[in-house]
Every structure is written in C-alpha cells, then in structure tokens.
Amino acid sequence: MCRIGAIKSKQKLHPSIALKLMRSQQEGHDDSGFAFVMQDMGGIFENYKELPLMSMAGTVEGARLAEDILRDIGFTRVMQWSPDINNKKGLKIEALPIYMFEALQYPKSYKHATKEEKEELLIDTSIRLRKALEETNSGYIYSFWPDTLTLKEIGSPKDIGTYFNLWEENKDLTSSIITAQCRQNTNYDIVRYAAHPFFLEGYTGLVNGENTFYEKNKSYQERLYKGYLGFESDSQCLLYTLHYIRKILKWPLQYFKHTITPLSYDEIIKREDSDILLRIKASLEHLEVNGPNTFLGVTPDKELICVCDSKKLRPVVIGKHNDTVIMTSEVAGINDLMPDRNTEEDIYPNERETVVIKDDLTVERWQQ
C-alpha cells in the first residue's frame, strides 16, 4: 500500500521533511521507491519563478536529446542545477546517470505571448520531450512547468535520501509545498512514471488506493485532452479529472468531488441543485472513481486539497501546527513532525468531505 503526504507551509521547507514524514510510516509501504514534487520554490530557484523549470532524469544521450529539442523550439537555458550525489556502496537505489533541473527562458517569439499561449507551448514541449525520450528509452520528463521541481526514483526511500543528500537540510533546495510518496507504486510494472505524485500543468495529485473504474476513466480521458498521457497508474486518472474540472471546464473545485464520487440519485433529488448534479453525473459518468482511495492534490492557486472515496475505505489525517499543515496517510507521520500540536484539531475527512488548505493556510471543509 502507498503512503502519501502533502506539506504546505508559510516557510520554505527542505524535502528532508518529506523523508521524515514518510519514515515513520515505513511499515505501511514496501520500501520500493520515493518521489516528491516541490512547488512555490525558494532557495536557488526563487528568482526563476516565472520561467519553466524542467525536471528530467535519464542517460547522457537522453539529456542531449532533451537539450536538442529545447534548443530547436527556441528555449534557452538560464540556470541548471543537479543534486550532489552520494554514491556510497550498498545503497538500495536504481539510479540513472543524470538528474537534470533547468530553468529555461521562453523562445524569443513568445516575448509578447499570453499566459495561455505560453502554457500551450509548455504542454506541447513536455509531450514532445516525453515521446522522444520514450522512443529512445533514454529518460523521463517529470515536470516542465514554472516553479515546480520533481524527483522520482526506485529504491529504498532512506537510501534514495542518502544518494541525493536529501537528509541534510540546506537552504538551496526549498519550497513551500512538498508532496511525496513512498513506494514505487504500481500494481503492474515498476515504472518511474507510475510513481506519485503526478503533475500536469500546475496540478499535482497523489493517491493512496485503487481505482476500480480505471478502464472507464482511461478510455474516456485518452481522448479528452492531449496532456492526459501515460496511464501507468490507475491513480493518474484522479489528477486528470481534477485538471479537467478546473482547467478545461473551469468549474469550481467543489464539482471535483461531485464528479469522482457522485451522490446517489436519491440523495441528489433532495437538493436544490439537483438538475446540475444529475447533468454532471450523466455527462461525466466515465470519470467516476470507484474502489478505496484517498486523494491529495495541489492546485495552481497553491491550495492543498484532500478527498476520499465514497465509502471512506482508506485512511488520511490532516494536522496543523503554527505555520505548517500536513496531510498524510498515518497520524504517526504527523506526530513525528508536529509533536506539540493540538491533536484535537486534527482532521479526519469523511467520505463526503473536501478539505482545502488555502494559500494563507486557512482550512475550508465542505460537505458534498
């Protein structure tokens, strides 16, 4: 089973906090991988917030191929960073030769481009990079978006932390939002792309659970938007649905829950908004999610969200202390990091609840 966590703070945090959050939940996962996404960057990335930041891993050939493609499109490198590697013997990690994080300047022709035009360029570039790397089996592109950094690897989370020197806090690699997962999740093949958190155009998603409507979701989403790719994990579908509701349809966030776990007909007809909810239930029937799961997400508004399946079959807890909020699978993780918080204020979301941590850390809770 996966263990997932999302941390949001008014301070800039180092990813060591995510490793520590996951360490106490070790008994709940299979020690097979670690992945994290950092958003709202600080440290050495603080000054490049508006520029796309590419997170990739691969071979030397893969890195060269990516550079060629970026140059061909007209991107220019502004800043590059690679983690310090501690390749000591005996670490359980399936490391790749190169981990590359680059801030890039948009092509000159985009000088006066709108936000939408730039975003279109980023998703198209991201898809092109992914396809090229896949065809040559030379690497992985995890995110290509401003103010976002992603790292995923197969192995023991503890050793992955050691390999990338992530246990030692420093001020270079920080952000205010960190989402992380332990376990190289997939019930199928061990594929790096299958590891949560998944990221698409400012939206991040992690799931602890299964989606028994994977086939339905996938067959619908494959033709819904060009960025809905991969489907290496049944959990990606939840991120794509969040993206579809918010970015494509531009519906308020509350309708995400109405889409993935719609109320029953008998419950809906008692409500004032029954017409709307029945339309959504019919039109987005193929985006419903079934099976046990907890979803944690991040939106471009820097909000954290948490929703559960309609029968509340998977755990999650939300704790807050001073200027940090943590959402995670087991309370043990929060206890380790926030031993002094008032546990009576912990939130255990129910099956019909959406919990939103706003950018100013205020907590909103809606019943569906």
Partner: protein, 542 residues
C-alpha cells in the same frame, strides 16, 4: 397388401408424438379439454378381444386418447395434457424425424409462421463463455453486497459532453444557461416492448402492475415499454404513465388514442421508443394475425379484425437525416422536448453506421439506442426470418460502444441491449456482462413470459404465440385461455424476479469493487474463448 397413402400427412411427420398409457387413464377428459390446439381427441379403438386364432370375430371397443393428424390442429408439445393428467397417463415425445414444416409448405404454398424464438441455435451463447474474472481482493477489497449501498440507476435520454452543457458559474456555483435534452435516471432493466395484442390483456396488465409496484412500493425505478399496440386510455391519463415508455412503430397502432389523450395527461411518459426493427425478425414489420385481433385490440388500435402487418419500414423515412428531422423531432416536439425519444433497431452489420450517424446528429434529439439481438422472441414471424436473419447482440453492442469510445463520446446516447437474455437461466449475469461491455442497461421480453409461465423453449416446444391459442394464456386472445393467467400472481412473480435480480446484480458488483453500475468495465470480464477475446477486446483466460 394394405395401401399406404404416401402423400398424406402421417403421425410420424408431426413434431411431437403422443404416448398414451391406457392402463393409467381414468377417462376424466382433462387432457382433451385443456389442449388449446385441438391436437388430441378421445377416440374409440376396436381391438381383438383374444389372441386365440379360433375365436375370430370377438372384438371390444376401447376408449383412448389419440392425436390429430392435421396440418392445422397438431400437437406443439406444450405439455399441458401431461400437466393436468392425474395419473401420468399421457406424455409427449419429441419426434427427431419431424417433417411437419416441409408438409406445411408443400400443402399450403405459404411461408411457415410461428411465434417464440429461433429454434436453430447454431450460434452458441457468447455470454456463457464470458466470466467475471477480475475479483477485488486485499488492497482493493470486495464490497459487501448485503451491507454496502449500490447505485443501480442509469441515464436514459441524450447526454451531452460536459463542455457542451453551456454551464455558467455564478457565486461559485454552476448554473444552467440553456434548456438541455431530457434525461431520466432509471433502473438498468426495461420490460421489453410487447404489445397488447401480441400478449393477452392479462399478461400486459400484470407487467404494468409489476412496473408500478416496483416503482412505488419497492423503490426500483424500472420502466416498461408498451410495444406497438397502444395503451389503455385510463392508464395514459393516470400518474402511472410516467413509468411507461410509449412505443411507436411503422404501423402507428394505438397512436390515435394516445394523441387524443394528450390534453388530459397529468404526467409525461417515461420516454418514447421509435421501433425501426426487432432482433427476432429484422427487416420485417410487426405481424398480428387476425385470430389474435380481439374486440378490445381492435378498439385500442382502431383497426378492423384482419391480419395486422406493420410495414417493414416507416413510410416516408428513407434516411437517418430524414428520420432525425421528421420523426424524432416530431416526437420530441409532441412532448415539448421533455421526454427522451429513443430508437430501437435490430442488431445488424449496419448498426455501427446507424449509431454513428445518430451520435453526430447536431440536434441531440436521440436519447437512447436499443439494440435487439437475433435470439430475441416475437409474437409471430415467418420461420425463415426467425431462424435465418439477424445478428447476435453481444459483439454488436460492443462495436457500438467502442465506436463511441473511439470518438470520446461513450454514454452520449445510452445503449440498451436485448435479445435472448436469460436464455440459459442467468438473466442477471447476462445483463451484468452486457453492462460491462458498454450497455447502460438491458431490456427483456422473454424473461417476463417465462416468469409468467410460458411453456415454450428454444428447442421447438410450443412456440405457437402467433396462433392466439397460447396454452398459458400469455399470448392468447381467446377468453377461456386468457383466464388461465392469474394477473395478480404473474405480477407478484415479476416483482419477485426483479427483486432477486437486484440482489444478484449487487452480488456481481460487490466482488469487482463497484458501487455503481460498471458500464464499460470490460476489464472485469474474461473469456475462455480466444475468438471472443479478440472480437470483444476482453482478456483471454485459460
């Protein structure tokens, strides 16, 4: 040497041969009284009294039961005589060397007609070769069919893609900006379209009672389709019409009354079903022989007592564009665009183009695609059509679903499949498998008849629905025969069967971890047949 008249009909030519045990018979007469086909009769046999060759002329007369050897009054094997015999003195033996249908054609110069269903059964049953093989276990636990709640409703009516709903957002909430196509949420089983006339008024009434009871008392939102034969005016004007899908077919039977009743209707019907074709006899229109056109059938349909043949096609509709513009629009307009209008066609090689055309219709006025397979039943058909025309339901349903998937339009015109469901006794399993293959729901007529007590089979037993002499009173129009059917008992059995099916559907949803209908969840299915696996795109297992 005795002369044998070779060209006459003989007992050995008939499909069923009577076996009569005189020693058990008490001559009560029940068997001859019950036979609706006049296929057996009391007779006197003159027998030699003794085996002695010297006592020559001593004979006795014995009362026996004999079968008629006639092209018209012949035994259909319904078995009613054996059912009523108190001593088991009579039974029927299937004649493997039956030549009746040859003799019928040779003598009458006419196509042989019958009711019921195809008796060839050359296709085998695809649905029986499919199993539900993806069982949730451990990390993805099975649900509990008894404890958990399940949503078994499906949309009926045109569904628009989310970005075509023209929703607006005001104060953080979605609001509607335009009138959207009518959409109803119904149980995924529809009582199939059997007209008053094709079935007896008692059978039809029992179905209508069961439908109302299931909705109003049991909370199961099942719908019933009227068939092309009208609907009693009293029902039209009652609130129960909201559970009825009114059918219009090429004969337009009964629509005069419906139109006249419209101003007095207090509820909208559940839907309109425009029947273009039916699975049992695709390419043919309805066929109600004069013998079944009883007085009340004449009244409801507004017709004389004559053979009622619906044309094979709707007159004046020669293309999908025309039908969309004329008929569908008319039916939509008739109920102010508040009632879903669906289409029923026979499964055919051409079903996918038809479905595609309707999916792409810019007016969004087709609210359901009913696909009827060749194992479906019928009140009457030419045997040649029944046995030799049609298309199995399973692959065609799948084709239609996958063509929608290919365009990202699955669910926009809900698919309903029927034709031979429950043939091998597992109706819920058949329904469930078709839903996993992409159906929003299923419709059935044959199961309702079987529940009511139909004695027919897919292997040549009875199948005399066309004659009006149905021995169970189900497809009969003769008063005495109709009275055999207990309306309340049939309604009760129909309700019970649906309640049982409801439990069984949940028993299949629970192990695959589904709390709502698994429409299109083909990943839950496996098959032990490689060809079926390839054709339906489901996992092969061995």
């Amino acid at each position: 040497m005795a002369a044998v008249k070779i060209n006459e009909l003989h007992k050995s030519d008939l499909p069923w041969i009577l076996e009569y045990d005189e020693s058990k018979c008490i001559q009560c007469g029940k068997c001859t009284a019950v036979c609706s086909f006049n296929a057996i009769k009391p007779a006197v046999e003159i027998r030699k009294k003794s085996n002695s060759i010297t006592e020559k002329n001593k004979t006795e007369r014995v009362l026996v039961i004999k079968q008629n050897i006639s092209l018209d009054n012949y035994c259909r094997g319904c078995g009613m005589c054996a059912n009523v015999c108190p001593n088991g003195a009579i039974r029927l033996i299937r004649n493997k060397d039956d030549k009746y249908s040859v003799a019928y054609r040779a003598n009458k110069a006419d196509s042989f007609k019958k009711g019921g269903r195809s008796n060839l059964n050359t296709e085998g049953r695809t649905l029986d070769k499919i199993k539900i093989g993806r069982i949730s276990q451990m990390t993805d636990p099975s649900l509990d069919a008894q404890r958990h709640t399940f949503e078994l409703r499906t949309p009926f009516g045109r569904v628009l893609k989310a970005d075509k709903l023209n929703f607006d957002v005001k104060d953080g909430k979605i609001v509607e900006t335009t009138q959207l196509p009518p959409n109803r949420w119904i149980y995924p089983i529809i009582f199939g379209d059997m007209s008053i006339g094709a079935v007896s008024w008692r059978m039809w009434e029992a179905m209508a009672i069961a439908t109302a009871y299931l909705n109003e008392v049991m909370g199961i939102p099942i719908r019933m389709c009227t068939g092309e034969g009208g609907i009693p005016t009293k029902l039209l004007k009652s609130r129960y019409v909201k559970y009825m899908i009114l059918q219009i077919a090429s004969g337009h039977f009964g629509w005069n009354r419906i139109i006249k009743a419209m101003p007095d209707m207090t509820e909208d019907p559940a839907g309109i079903l425009i029947k273009i074709g039916q699975g049992a006899k695709p390419g043919d229109g309805g066929l109600l022989l004069a013998s079944k056109v009883a007085r009340y059938v004449q009244e409801i349909r507004g017709v004389p007592r004559a053979d009622l043949l619906s044309p094979p096609t709707h007159q004046g509709l020669y293309s999908i564009e025309e039908s969309v513009q004329k008929m569908f629009l008319s039916m939509n307009a008739a109920f102010k665009f508040k009632v879903p209008v669906a289409i029923k066609v026979a499964a055919s090689v051409t079903s996918v183009p038809v479905y595609n055309n309707l999916l792409r219709d810019p007016y969004n006025i087709v609210g359901g695609f009913f696909l009827d397979g060749l194992a479906a039943g019928t009140g009457a058909a030419h045997e040649i059509s029944l046995n030799h025309t049609g298309h199995p339901i399973t692959s065609k349903l799948r084709d239609c679903y996958l063509t929608a998937v290919k365009q990202g339009r699955q669910g926009e015109i809900p698919l309903f499949a029927g034709g031979g469901l429950g043939q091998t006794g597992s109706f819920a399993a058949d329904a469930f498998k078709l839903i996993c293959l992409g159906a929003n729901g299923v419709f059935t007529g044959r199961m309702l008849l079987e529940i009511a007590g139909c004695v027919g089979s897919d292997t040549g037993k009875c199948n005399a629905c066309n004659t009006g002499l149905c021995p169970a009173g189900i497809a009969a129009q003769n008063d005495n025969l109709v009275k055999r059917l207990d309306v309340d008992k049939v309604a009760q059995n129909l309700v019970n069967y649906i309640l049982a099916t409801d439990i069984e559907l949940k028993k299949l949803m629970a192990p695959i971890g589904c709390s709502s209908l698994p429409i299109g969840r083909s990943d839950a299915l496996i098959t032990v047949d490689k060809h079926i696996s390839t054709r339906l795109d489901i996992q092969y297992a061995c």
